[in-house]
């Protein structure tokens, strides 16, 4: 299984994502410059956190017009796994690959802390190694993680099991019903505000993020073999 991490001007978690793949999955991973419109060699795309284009205009709004995003949309369409973390989630929303939009945190401040999440659906390619309803701890670090969608969209997300994670206990940003991560209808595109790549060893404060990457690998290689 080959991984790509697109790099936009202003991405700053690209290396961290690549490191997680290398160290936790021991699979090949390439950083792909945003001008590159070809992601054919890859099976999974990790859109990293950061401040693509300085988050100017709106978070993720400018990155979505990069050539690499056309390739991401194509990859999603072909059933490859696409994971957007933090700014990567915001880009997926702006690009319309996931429904809804992101607002400024309700308390108006940037917030960096380790939060407790509940795994709402463990039948996704990204969550297979978690228990359903399990509480896990992952770090967040964002100023705009206040997820919004209208009631109709929310109902659809709930009915189709597209809500992957919710904040358990404190909601750190005011997101609708405490949503921390959602998928598309097909389940192969996940966007989440918390950073699983920052939670892969105990010394980081929590290693609960490692299973998210392992789940992806198990799902993919279970379907396609270890290639």
């Amino acid at each position: 299984m080959r991984f790509a991490v697109p790099v936009f001007p202003g991405s700053n978690c690209d290396e961290d994502c690549a490191k997680a793949v290398r160290e936790i999955l021991d699979r090949p991973v390439d950083l792909v410059w945003y001008k590159n419109g070809n992601l054919d060699p890859y099976d999974a795309i990790l859109l990293p956190g950061g401040f693509s284009y300085g988050d100017y205009l709106r978070t993720g709004a400018l990155a979505r017009f990069s050539p690499v995003m056309d390739a991401v949309a194509e990859a999603a369409d072909r059933g490859k796994l696409v994971l957007g973390i933090c700014n990567g989630f915001q880009v997926l929303l702006e690009a319309g690959l996931l429904p809804g939009a992101m607002r400024v945190n309700d308390h108006l401040k940037f917030r960096c802390s380790i939060q407790t999440l509940r795994v709402e659906n463990n039948r996704l390619p990204f969550t297979g190694l978690y228990e359903e309803g399990e509480e896990i701890r992952l770090p967040i670090a964002h100023g705009e993680g206040n997820y919004y969608c209208d009631d109709g969209t929310l109902k659809g997300l709930e009915e189709r099991g597209q809500i992957a994670f919710r904040y358990a206990g404190e909601n750190p940003n005011g997101s609708v019903t405490g949503i921390a991560g959602i998928t598309n209808r097909e389940g192969n595109v996940l966007g989440l505000m918390p950073h699983p790549e920052r939670a892969i060893y105990g010394w980081m404060g929590t290693d609960d993020g490692a299973r998210l990457f392992r789940s992806m690998l198990r799902y993919w290689e279970g379907m396609h073999g270890a290639a």
Binding site: P9, E15, F51, F110, C112, A141, R198, M204, G205
Partner: protein, 762 residues
């Protein structure tokens, strides 16, 4: 004949801008005073030039000779700092200092102030302070891996102070978060003396392989000088001079002096420069920081023993009609100056284009020692470059012991407050914003990006692991300005030893420091005395601990409504030999034995308890015994390296009581403590005697640990054990504190959010 020609040249320049005074007018109307130069300094400039300076040249001298760039008031004192050591790769004089950490790697770090800009525009002022220090580090060729800061504000009961504090923290957070460098540590103190003059000191730590170390020099006659980054605008003109003046009533109107930062641009600049370093293209690189293009270019030429010729028409400009004076002195942010070998401009452009950065060849290195600037085909400045850097005036000032220092000698605070209940005192001290949890602050900083933060903010020192190595770096910023106010020499020493102790408690060997000296006007003899004494104390402590000063910054004239407390801030970096040694302050296991190391004396002068009970400080601060301090640090580090220590926390603000409480806050544990002492319980619990620490040790190692302390001659008392939920302390068999840790933690965590949101009902 020569003189006539020179005068004609200056006259011609004068006509380039109608609004500027001509050379004769500058002389006759003494316009040099407007840019902060004295008559004597003006005279030296005439001598250096052999003619009258024009307005542009006057501006260049004024910023190059300002305190900010030349350290003219502090230079004689700074020479006292120890700056050498076997592991020093780069001492003071470049963008940042560099120390060897083995394996061919080095750590690069520096701290710098951005006090005056923060006072007038807190968000941008603080943000650009962070931006500047990041550039200082990556212009050395190092990859920045961590940010820290040290903040001083007035009382949070003042709404203006709350605004300044909130905005400054948001500015620091914004810049570091966007660039993607974790802000892992820092400290905050609140005191009325900072009311109109807050302090924002930012520190950056970077790492590089030795061979990547860069210098800010211009070498090789004919080589191109390349400008990279943001366009130049009129922002921040005379920032360096502004930083060297007192803040007056009109400072808020000097707003144009404050620059706006663009951290996104900084991130691109950072990545592009890292790529240029790896490609080994650069001969010299320097940030355009204080005094902008002038300072960077002149310093590069002076350090390279060369000259430089610049063509201002080629400088990317954001505004039209800028005069040479404005272009040269602008402090627009996110700009770098590079010197590369002639012919390699294309390779540089290729990298810069990839990152979408504009660049321009704006001049050449020359061999004639002149700093020559052209605009529209005319020479607008022509100065012997060495006179800008090496001939800056030096002021030898004399200090005078102030009245308050003499009066304080007879005050003995510990004689009072006998009837105060220790449990209630602890609650009050924990609620003091100085001691209270700073989570409200550091929660706004991304402290985990780069996935190398092993000890997050809130412990004694932050720890960053190094990719591909078992080693780690510990870092801390410290400085108790109340101690320094009461006794600058002792306070200066305390700042150094506390920073070292913090680093040691996290499992590291202290390597060296960077410092930021924030003081009032050096023209006041009592302020100069504070500065001199503090520098002496710091120097002595650094010598004793073997931690050289490899760089730093001086911020004087911090006066608005009175003088600030003298505030030397120490940024210490230490090396953790193995990740296994990384230690934090929280208790880990029920049943672990708790040890108090070091001697407690009745030292409440300048303490947090005194401040809480008296609302002011008096007397003498705790004394530092450097010999005891190094013994203490040695045994803590040895015990940690032997694997005996579960937690280590140094005793500082708030004394033993706060140290015990904070050790319990990280977990659900508590402590049962019995103290034997000849002092009053309040003294025993709240004295801030130096060279002390609280360690918890697993029972099987307790005996060996006590033996080690005894062998080293460090006073060591087993004072209790880690238990659940409650903090109970008995002094000489009498109950002193009995509280649920949860309740204490709520006070400690709630204090700052509550102070910041006084109208909130919850």
């Amino acid at each position: 004949m020569v003189r006539l020609e020179e005068r004609m040249m200056a006259d011609r320049v004068d006509r380039a801008s109608e609004n500027e005074p001509g050379p004769e007018e500058i002389r006759d109307r003494e316009c040099f005073r407007e840019v902060g130069l004295t008559a004597e300094e003006y005279g030296s400039i005439r001598d250096h030039l052999g003619r009258l300076p024009n307005w542009t040249e006057l501006g260049i001298y004024s910023v190059m000779w300002s305190e900010h760039c030349s350290y003219k008031n502090s230079k004689p004192l700074l020479k006292r700092f120890p700056v050498e050591g076997p592991h020093v790769l780069q001492g003071p004089g470049e963008g940042a200092g560099a120390l060897d950490i083995g394996d061919g790697q080095a750590v690069v770090f520096k701290i710098e102030s951005h006090n005056h800009p923060t006072a007038v525009e807190p968000f941008q002022g603080a943000a650009t302070g962070v931006g500047g220090i990041i550039r200082d580090v990556f212009s050395m060729g190092a990859r920045p891996v961590a940010l820290l800061n040290s903040l001083r504000f007035g009382s949070l009961s003042n709404p203006r102070v709350r605004y300044l504090f909130e905005q400054a923290v948001a500015g620091i957070a914004h810049y570091g978060n966007v660039v993607g460098i974790p802000t892992v540590g820092g400290e905050v103190e609140f005191d009325a003396s900072y009311e109109g003059n807050p302090l924002v000191n930012a520190m950056c730590v970077g790492v590089l392989p030795h061979e990547d170390l860069q210098k800010g020099i211009a070498q090789g006659v004919g080589n191109p000088v390349i400008y990279v980054g943001s366009s130049t605008g009129r922002d921040g003109i005379h920032g360096a001079t502004f930083a060297s003046e007192e803040l007056g009533e009109d400072s808020e109107e000097k707003r144009p002096s404050v620059q706006a930062g663009d951290p996104f641009m900084e991130k691109l600049l950072l990545e592009a420069c890292m790529e240029l370093v790896k490609k080994k293209i650069l001969l010299g690189i320097q940030d355009m920081g204080a005094a902008g293009l002038t300072c960077s270019s002149a310093e590069m030429a002076a350090k390279g023993n060369t000259g430089m010729e610049l063509d201002l028409d080629r400088v990317p400009q954001r505004e039209t009609g800028m005069t040479p004076y404005e272009i040269l002195l602008s402090e627009s942010q996110e700009r770098m100056l590079l010197v590369v070998e002639d012919g390699r401009e294309g390779e540089v452009r290729e990298v810069l284009d990839k990152w979408g950065l504009q660049s321009a060849v704006i001049g050449r290195v020359t061999g004639d020692g002149r700093y020559r600037v052209r605009q529209k085909g005319r020479i607008v400045a022509d100065i012997p470059v060495k006179t800008l850097v090496d001939d800056a005036p030096v002021c030898y000032r004399k200090g005078e012991e102030p009245e308050y220092y003499r009066v304080n000698a007879d005050r003995h605070p510990e004689e009072k407050w006998k009837e105060c209940d220790p449990g209630e005192a602890l609650r009050q001290v924990l609620a003091s914003p100085n001691v209270a949890s700073k989570r409200w602050v550091y929660q706004q900083y991304d402290h985990m990006v780069r996935t190398s933060t092993a000890v997050r903010p809130g412990s004694d020192a932050a720890v960053i692991v190094l990719d591909g190595l078992d080693k780690a770096l510990a870092m801390s910023t410290d400085g108790n300005s109340r101690y320094v106010y009461l006794d600058p020499r002792q306070g200066g020493m305390a700042a150094v030893v506390e920073a070292a102790r913090n680093v040691v408690c996290s499992g590291a060997r202290p390597l060296g420091i960077t410092d930021c000296l924030n003081f009032g006007s050096p023209e006041k003899p009592e302020v100069f005395w504070q500065l001199e004494e503090a520098v002496n104390g710091m120097s002595e402590a650094c010598r004793h601990l073997g931690t050289p000063v490899v760089g730093g910054n001086v911020s004087l004239y911090n006066e608005s409504k009175g003088t600030i407390h003298p505030t030397p801030v120490v940024g210490m970096v230490g090396l953790v030999e193995s990740r296994r040694h990384i230690t934090t302050q929280e208790f880990k296991r029920e049943g672990d034995r708790i040890f108090l190391l070091g001697e407690t004396l009745p030292e409440l002068g300048g303490s947090e308890l005194q401040l809480v009970l008296d609302q002011k400080v008096s007397g003498r601060p705790p004394r530092v015994d450097l010999e005891k301090e190094s013994q203490l640090q040695r045994i803590i580090l040895t015990a940690i390296q032997k694997g005996w220590v579960s937690s280590a926390h140094d005793c500082s603000s708030g004394g033993l009581a706060v140290t015990l409480a904070e050790s319990a806050f990280g977990t659900h544990l508590g402590a049962k403590v019995h103290l034997r002492t000849k002092w009053d319980p309040l003294v025993m619990l709240f004295s801030e005697s130096q060279s002390r620490a609280v360690l918890s040790v697993s029972p099987e190692h307790a005996e060996a640990f006590a033996g080690l302390a005894e062998a080293e001659g460090v006073l060591c008392a087993e004072i209790g054990e880690v238990c659940r939920e409650y903090l109970t302390v008995e002094v000489n068999g009498q109950p002193a504190i009995d509280a649920r840790v949860k309740d204490l933690r709520a006070i400690w965590e709630g204090a700052i959010p509550c102070a910041m949101n006084p109208f909130s009902t919850n």
